[in-house]
């Protein structure tokens, strides 16, 4: 434990029967300029079949968080990880390399922004799939090939049998991303982490891929962490959304509530900065001035304070913890959490 700037977050994420529990996760990366707190105290849990959207601007720590949850980033080398990641009760961060390989593929799959890097350019599509399949099951060559064809069909690739013999470069970006999704799903993982899965794609293709993910999730009952810098992408797709700022959740709430009733000033400002189709042309956008903080040496107190129009003196001492609104769901769970001392209120929608 190297991080002393944060207190433990007073968020009890442990709803009954969680698939994934992430508790006070910190990921520090050593850089020549000092230890960079890429993830700095993230806590949440995820149920079977649930989709958590994670949004935030470039550098806010989304990818590092996803990779740490996956176990791709662990303590050692220039990394320092603390906190817990429990997948079906198993601690990802304390597993051996062998145990991790078993978990990847069988319990958790990952899809990245650039499908090309996930695929070996000199390997046929079919080989990618059958290798993954054989690693985790006892399928023989023929059965694996049939299952591979089935998977391509599942992800909506036309003429799957012919595609098995194609190379990645013979496919468009959208097709390649479908293949990557097929590989991630090959062994029916319980959790899929999709990090900017559509950022490199055109909007029409983006919609197809998001539709696909949503359909597969419903059919296979897996949980999804959908990471995107685009609020629109997660808005219609996630059950809950976490807004990340400077390595932490500024706000974590059911998607509809978050967009309709943001409490954190960063969430509100982010929503206000997006041009909207229903506004007339030439409307002046409500930009957020300034830039996110340096995470080697983040500001004391609330990290958004230097850019926050509602900031007061007391914001700059101790980082605000996630606290719940007074609403709870039918089960009595608090579902809407925000980390702000002077939250956006209903009476002053502008929050100023």
């Amino acid at each position: 434990m190297t991080t002393t700037t944060t207190e433990p977050v007073e968020l009890n994420p442990y709803e009954e029967d969680p698939l994934l529990v992430v508790d006070a996760l910190h990921t520090e990366i050593m850089t020549p300029r000092g230890a960079l707190k890429a993830v700095d105290g993230v806590t949440f849990s995820l149920r079977q079949g649930e989709t958590l959207g994670v949004v935030g601007e470039s550098g806010s720590g989304k990818s590092v968080m996803g990779r740490t949850v996956m176990g791709l980033y662990r303590s050692g080398g220039n990394m320092n990880v603390s906190g817990q990641v429990l997948l079906e009760g198993e601690d990802i961060q304390s597993m051996t390399a062998r145990e991790l390989r078993r978990v990847w593929g069988s319990k958790v799959g990952m899809v990245f922004q650039d499908p090309m890097t996930a695929l070996n350019p000199v390997k046929k599509i079919g080989t990618h799939l059958t290798e993954t399949l054989k690693e985790h099951s006892k399928l023989d060559g023929k059965a694996a090939r049939n299952r591979a064809e089935e998977l391509l069909n599942l992800v909506g690739i036309p003429e799957p049998r012919r595609r098995l013999d194609q190379f990645p470069h013979e496919m468009s970006g959208g097709m390649r991303q479908r293949v990557v999704i097929a590989i991630a799903l090959a062994n029916n993982p319980r959790l899929l982490i999709a990090d900017e899965p559509t950022t490199a794609l055109d909007v029409t293709v983006q919609k197809q891929i998001l539709d696909l993910l949503q359909r597969l999730q419903a059919e296979l009952g897996m949980a999804v962490i959908l990471i995107s810098h685009n609020l629109g992408v997660v808005a219609g797709r996630a059950d809950r959304v976490g807004v990340m700022y400077a390595g932490r959740f500024a706000e974590l709430a059911p998607a509809k509530q978050l967009f309709a009733d943001p409490r954190h000033h960063y969430t509100r400002a982010l929503l206000a900065a997006i041009p909207k189709l229903e506004q007339p042309p030439h409307v002046r956008l409500d930009a957020i001035e300034g830039a996110p903080p340096n995470m080697v040496n983040p500001p004391h107190g609330c990290r958004f304070a230097p850019r926050c129009r509602a900031a007061q003196e007391d914001c700059t001492h101790v980082p605000p913890r996630l606290v719940p609104t007074d609403q709870s769901n039918l089960m009595g769970h608090k579902r809407h959490w925000y980390a702000c001392y002077h939250p956006v209120s209903h009476d002053t929608p502008g929050g100023e």
């Binding site: 601007e57 922004q113 496919m171 055109d202 029409t204 992408v233 909207k276 002046r284």
Partner: protein, 386 residues
Amino acid sequence: MMAGSGSDHLRADQDQVLTVTDLVVEFPTKGGGKVHAVSGISFDLLRGETLGILGESGCGKSSAGRAVMQLPPPTSGSVRLEETELTGLSKSAVRSKRRPMQMILQDPVSALNPRRRVKDLVAEGPRIWGKKVTDQQIRDVLSEVGLDPDVVMDRRPYEMSGGQCQRVCIARALMLEPTVMICDEPVSSLDVSVQAQILNLLEQARERLRLSMIFIAHDVAVVKNISDRVMVMYLGKVCEITPSDGLAQRALHPYTKLLLDSVPEAELMDDSEVARGGQTSTELPSPLNPPSGCRFRTRCPLASEVCKEEEPKLRELAPGHWVACHHADDGAAPTRAVIGEEGNPETGLVTEEAAADAATADDRVTDADESVATKAEPPKRAADEG
């Protein structure tokens, strides 16, 4: 007139700054074929007006923008800036005649020479033309683009964030006192909060200097926000030109509607569940061998026999609103809802993308570089450290 999208929509007798007629951009391929990047498009730009160009990757937006700049000159067609025809001029003549026209690119960091300091980058343009640039002028233009001269004057591009670099690029352009700015995806690589800052800045510069702008982007809401008119392109052709006010309601071309239906932001506003299906993929046909007739027909839910045989011309279906579609004004013209219900058009053939990929290698290299830069292990940017 050539079989293009037509040019009847050019506006006569107004204060045109730029008129582009029947612009064609083709790139020969190794195999002796050619990429039809832009296939006979026409548009004009009035003083103080912003024309948005909207379309997906590879539809020819950048090629069109570059051809207007003569970078390189188009395969054919005319580009008239004020009273000057730019095509057919010698290289040196082009350089001096197109001076009133400046271009802003998507990747602001690589657009700037990494070894030079901001104050030299900003003064570079006028100095090339033998003008003296004072420190005060540099300070003024930096302040104008929202940078603190004392802080950034001596910095180099890698010591600044993407947003700051884009401000420097805009300052560089403004130093040359342009009348036309061609902005090619100037905010596409920026985060929303910075995107809003840059859009506001461009708008403010346009108003103050009475600039005309061509604003290229793939984000419908961004284009709508900054433009007076929007031109939608598909595979090198113009589908629709419409006033941007009420874009979502006005849109008549099936491709424009597909774009609008794909906008994820729509769901930010939409309470109702959006109808979604699990269709198979239909993707862009090869620009090496575009479909006959209407190029959108392989993905169009309304495609009919005539669409295969005859290329639709731009027709004015409402004042100032031009649409290139045989069926856009049929009695049973589809509403957006109908298209939504049908999901993405499945009628299209799934064309072989391999050829397209090979042909777009040039474009893909840039795209790949960009995604690499924002992916897995992001290169450390000075911006992160403040």
